[in-house]
Structures are given as C-alpha cells and as structure tokens.
Symmetry: D2
Subunit: 148 residues, 4 copies
C-alpha cells in the first residue's frame, strides 16, 4: 500500500474487555489502536517487532486522544481504519476510526464507535530520541533527505 493509504483491521470484542456497564471498557480502545498500528506497519511492508528486535527502535506513545461515539459490545466485529497523518524521521501520528460492522446475514448498518489519534516518537532501548533508520522511511512515506 502507499503510505497515505488506509489500513483496515478487524477485532472481535472479547468478553474480558467488557465492564459492568455491559459495554467494552474505554481503555481497551487504546489497545485496539495499537493492534491497528501493528497491522498498518504490516500492510506498509514491515513487521513492527523487527523494528524493535533488529534495529532497537521503539515507537513510543507520546499522546493519545479518543472520542467515544457509541458503545462497542461483546462479540462485536470492530473494524478499524488507520491512517498515517504525519511522519518524519523523529515522530509520527496515526488517526483511527472504529466501526462496529454487522456480521453476514445480520442486517443493520455499520455503527461508528470511536475516533482517535496517537502521537509517537522513535526512541532507542534506553528510551532516548532516535531516528528512524533510512530503510524504513519510504515505508512511512518520509522523503530520504528530510529537512530537519
């Protein structure tokens, strides 16, 4: 895919992710965004774990926001559309839109669940700022020679 394409992830809401309101607990949406980011990387042509294991580069979260629009429920099929909205060799930003989509033969329409975004920096294992290795830059749509 191209770097500004949209990556799609499907997650089945787990029982353990619900709370006593009978809906998915709001903190789990951040974990779902993380799963969606990993899928984004896979679609972009690399495995995030290789970035960590082979290059010692961590994509840490520096900020997050989420707006909850409609409750997700246990066993819902959640579709997450992920877009990279900003990227340079120091930091990237992702945007997410989550929808609960009806199963085959269930009828009904997809329902918007939440929107959000996460901001990230590249750090090394000592948690100090690092630069994304050149070979990964094009995968994030970052020009090779980037004005700092």
């Amino acid at each position: 895919m191209t770097h500004n394409a949209c990556s799609l992830t499907h997650i089945r809401a787990r029982y353990a992710e619900t709370d006593q309101m009978g809906v998915v607990h709001h903190a789990n949406y951040l974990i779902w965004m993380e799963v969606a980011r990993v899928d984004y990387c896979r679609d972009a042509g690399f495995r995030y774990r290789d970035l960590e294991n082979q290059h010692g580069i961590l994509l840490v979260v520096t900020e997050v926001d989420c707006r909850y629009l409609s409750p997700a429920r246990y066993d819902d099929d959640i579709e997450i559309a992920t877009v990279l909205t900003r990227a340079n060799h120091r930091a990237v930003t992702f945007q997410y839109e989550m929808r609960s989509v009806p199963g085959p033969g269930e009828g009904g329409k997809a329902r918007r669940i939440a929107t959000g975004h996460t901001g990230h920096m590249f750090l090394n294992r000592e948690l100090r700022p690092a630069s994304l290795p050149a070979e990964f830059r094009s995968l994030f749509g970052i020009p090779e020679r980037q004005p700092q």
Copy 2:
C-alpha cells in the same frame, strides 16, 4: 472537600501493567484515571458504586486525552491529582496530573508522568442521557437550579 479541591490518589504500578519496553503500558493510565475519579467521588462524599447501584446513574466516558511526559515504571508510587474542571447535571470533566513520587529514604524528586482529562455524561442503565439526581449536585459543586 469542596468541589473544586484537588483529590489525591496513590497507585503502586503493577508488574502486569508493564510491557516489553520495560515501562507501564500507556493504556493503563486510563484505568488509573478511573481509579482516581472514584477516589475523587469518595472524597466528595459519596461512593460512585452507590450512584450506579442505588440510583441507576452511570458516569460514562465520552472522551479522553493523555499526554505521556516520562515513563512510569514497575513498583513506582504514582500520585494522581484530580480536579473537576466542569460540571452540570448532564456532564462533567475531570483533569489529572500524574507524578511518580520517591519512597521514604529513596531521595530524588517527584517526576511528572502524564497529564490528561476525561469527559463524561450521565446515562441511565439503558445508556440514554440522564440527569444527575439533585442530592448529588452539590457534591459536584453544581447549583441546585441550573440554567440549561
């Protein structure tokens, strides 16, 4: 306490809350904010669970944001200062500041971990908009007769 006072919560970071970066996973900060909110309510004079159990009123999360300033680590003593920044009979907003505070005899200074806020609406058990019962309004510093 008065409704605009600051409530303080202490949480010991759990091993299960860390991830393979060696720091607390960022989604847990939302759970810590929730623990801090419950303590805020207790300090304000009521138990959140009574609001749910006895009055059928749920304080659902409609939006959240968090800025991560410095990593929290396993076994850190995390202090969360919680302030109610907006309140009417339909919705409230809380603000949080989290610090990692050194134990007795450890030396060092408190370190700011994160800041964030959460927005909420009052809903009934059917997850439809509800109004905070009058007897709770003063606890949130909401005037009895509130202009809509």
Copy 3:
C-alpha cells in the same frame, strides 16, 4: 463439528499483553482461553452471546489451571486447541493446548506454550445455578434425558 471434536483458535499476541520480562504476561492466557471457548461455541453451532442475551444463561468460571511451558512473545501466532472434556446440564469443563506456530516462510517448528483447563457452571443473571436449555444440550453433546 461433533461435541468432542477439537476447535482451533488463532490469536496474535498483542504488545499490550507483554510485560517487562519481554514475554506475554501469564494472566493473559486465561483471556485467550476465553476467546478459544467462544470459538468452540461458534464451531459447535451457537454464539455464546446469544446464550446470555436470549436465554439469560451465563457460563461462569469456577476453576482454572494453567501450566506455562515456554514463553509466548509479542506478535506470535498462537494456536489454541480446545476440547470439551466433561459436560452436563449444570457444568462443563474445557481443556486447552496452546502452541506458537511459525508464520509462512519463517521456518522453525510449532512450540508448545501452555496447557490448561477451565471448569464452569451455568448460572442465571442473578448468579444462581441454572440448567442449560434443552436446545443447547446436544451442541455440547449432552444427552437429552440426563440422569442427574
């Protein structure tokens, strides 16, 4: 499938599921068993959520054990084989075997991660003992007229 067949579930280990040892935190295996149980039910011909929503029957966990044989790691493809080992209209027992399976083109062999079992009772919404509705019994391989 027949009631004593083996149901297979695949779970991709999430980053949030790791801890600072660099492996999946052991409590998550119980959540994976739960995901596997839900898949078992789906394979057996019904959705667990329908049992709850339409019949008011809850399959609560009364006991669990797990033996950890080899660490599961972030992004591992975990395959869970689930077998129903005991079933009557009051209680059921599941057994699980988890393996980390190499991706296509990765080489290597599947690695046994853990084994475990969970015991369950059927309860109603008031958490009192209930009997599995007749229409579900054959799906669990329970004879219609069962000696008590």
Copy 4:
C-alpha cells in the same frame, strides 16, 4: 516477618476489572495474586524489583490454579493472605486466600472469594534457570546449604 508467616494485601476492585456479568473478571485474580506476591517480598525484607534490577533474577510463573468461590464486585475491599508453601534456590510456591471484607460501618461478614496457588522458577534475563542469590535465601526461609 518469618518466612512462613502470612502476608496480608488489600486491593480495591477496580471498575475496569469487572466484566458484563457485573463481577470481577476471573483473569484479574492472577494479577491480584501477583500484587500479593510483591507485598509478600516487601514484608519479607526486600523489593522484588531489586531482585530483577540489581541481580538480574526473574521469578517467572510456571503454573497457576485458582478456585472461584464467590464473586468479587466492583469497589470491594479484597484481602489476600499469602503464604510461601515451598521454597528452594530454584523454585518457590505461593498459596493465596482472597476474601471480600466489609468496610467500616458496613456490617456483614468477610466472604471467601477465591483460593489459589502459583508455582515459580528463578530465571536469568535470558530466561534460563538461575539460582536465587545466597543473600535472599534466608528471606525465603531457604537454608544456606541446601541439599539439591
């Protein structure tokens, strides 16, 4: 405390720990056991994180079981009694009993929630078997010169 004494931990059940049955999700009991183990170590005279950070020794979980006797509910005050039931320089076993205890002025009796045990091995950071450093052995009640 002496090594065979009982360590007591108090945990307030978090909202995020509940599920849509309206009770604490069963996987969280393993996390509570972990919190209780850390407190056991603190009571025994050391911090578990020092064992990891300063000595590179990890206390990994090799097996766990739990019997669920009565549901824990949101905001319950859970008391966990932890006992070390077996210890040598390679492996240790803990036993836990969890009770929900009424708050001051609430009346009612403590209710047994669950019992369980966890088995552990000492590993180094490469997750290979290691031996508990001599200076920690007496804290676990292990004789200095132990027959293998």
